[in-house]
Amino acid sequence: MTIQEFPMARAAGCPFDPPPALHELQREAPLTRVRLANGTTPWLVTRYAEQRALLSDPRISADVRHPGFPAGASVDRHRVSIGFVLMDDPEHSRLRRTVTAPFAVKRVEAMRPLVQSIVDGLIDEMLDGPRPVDLVQAFALPVPSLVICELLGVPYTDHDFFQDNSKHLVNRNASPAERREAFQIFNAYLDDLIGAKTAAPTDDLLSQLAARIEAGELARAEAAGIATLLLIAGHETTANMIALGTLALLENPDQLTLLRETDDPKLIAGAVNELLRYLNIPHGGRRRVALADIEIAGELIRAGEGIIMANDIGNRDPSVFTDPDTLDLTRDARGHLAFGFGAHQCLGQPLARMELQVVYGTLYRRIPSLRLATSIDRIPFKHDGSVYGVYELPVTW
């Protein structure tokens, strides 16, 4: 049997569905070998149960420096330096636990009125501005950017700088060097701000990191790295869910109607989970390396071999989700793997869920005639990015 190349291409006209080749591999077996651009042949895990089992298995590592790690174009090597995403326990846990408090469910709920006012303010600006408008620039990117400013404690006078520099990070015309520069500007900015918060603490995450530096629990560079990581991880991901989710809803008008005509928080929370399941924007897969021999589903993964969990196809596993290729906002999608699984499951997920609940629960009610200002085949999709989405979404009303 020939080994297929990974990643694979999506089918033309099916921008919300995983590549057809992934469906075929899933039908054939829970895991199989694939070939990456660098010639290596890691395991690709396509079924839900095996993805969950491996992601929660302490015998796998997220350390990108391991020689067997299945790095691809979608793994940014510069992220190696920025904290705990690509580390293993106990170091991962030590650093992660320094910033978990603001992501507790009740703390996130306390931020809901603030997020609501950010979302309402941006919608007011859109309604007062010209039509059509690019929803990505006018709404999808500013929402998470402003929320992260509030979470970290970025002074209001720096919000414009913060949003401008954020745009360089996600600009598709930027070279890798330009993106790295934007990243380093943020790292230096946050490092300075942590210094300022040490001298004059306020009630925010950067002040908490500053206090940990004072207590000798964190090095300053570690703290700046963590702050930068939170910024990067929470920014483009949420923005892509807002814009791509809106497009998916516009293409499924019966589902959009459900959302537009409800104020039931349970239905809205369920809709967020279903859109996360259906779109699964981290489409490069969760990548790991085996630290020991692991027997699973009749196969032997040997120590040192790379493993890629393709959660996009795992979330379409028909043994877990009935009629998985249908967007159904009323289904119970809580078990989806869009935030990953295991010790590295997304730290920001309670905040992301709440932001998306506010966005999906507000945008279509306030602009009920929202529609595409172009045809869907002219929308530029992020096929090349590590996180799937749209580069632009021209809308009108």
């Binding site: 846990s93 408090a101 992501f103 507790a104 009740k106 809580r334 295991g342 010790a343 997304c346 997920q349």
Partner: protein, 64 residues
């Protein structure tokens, strides 16, 4: 039913609290989950089973 929660494993996903808020809560200082009761009532068994299933680090174990 008796519940055990391994706080060493907890990664503050909040999934347990969302699934069964009568049974799970999170510490103020770091968000680590804790039990409000070790022996939940019959009316919350389904929610607790769901909480155990969605915990990303399998920190919740149930004894019947």
């Amino acid at each position: 039913m008796k519940i055990q929660l391994d706080q060493e494993k907890c990664v503050v996903s909040g999934q347990c609290l969302l699934a069964a808020p009568e049974v799970f809560d999170q510490r103020d200082e770091d968000g680590i989950a804790f039990l409000l009761t070790e022996s939940p009532g019959a009316d919350t068994v389904a929610e607790v089973r769901h909480a155990a299933a969605v915990c990303p680090v399998l920190a919740i174990t149930l004894e019947d």
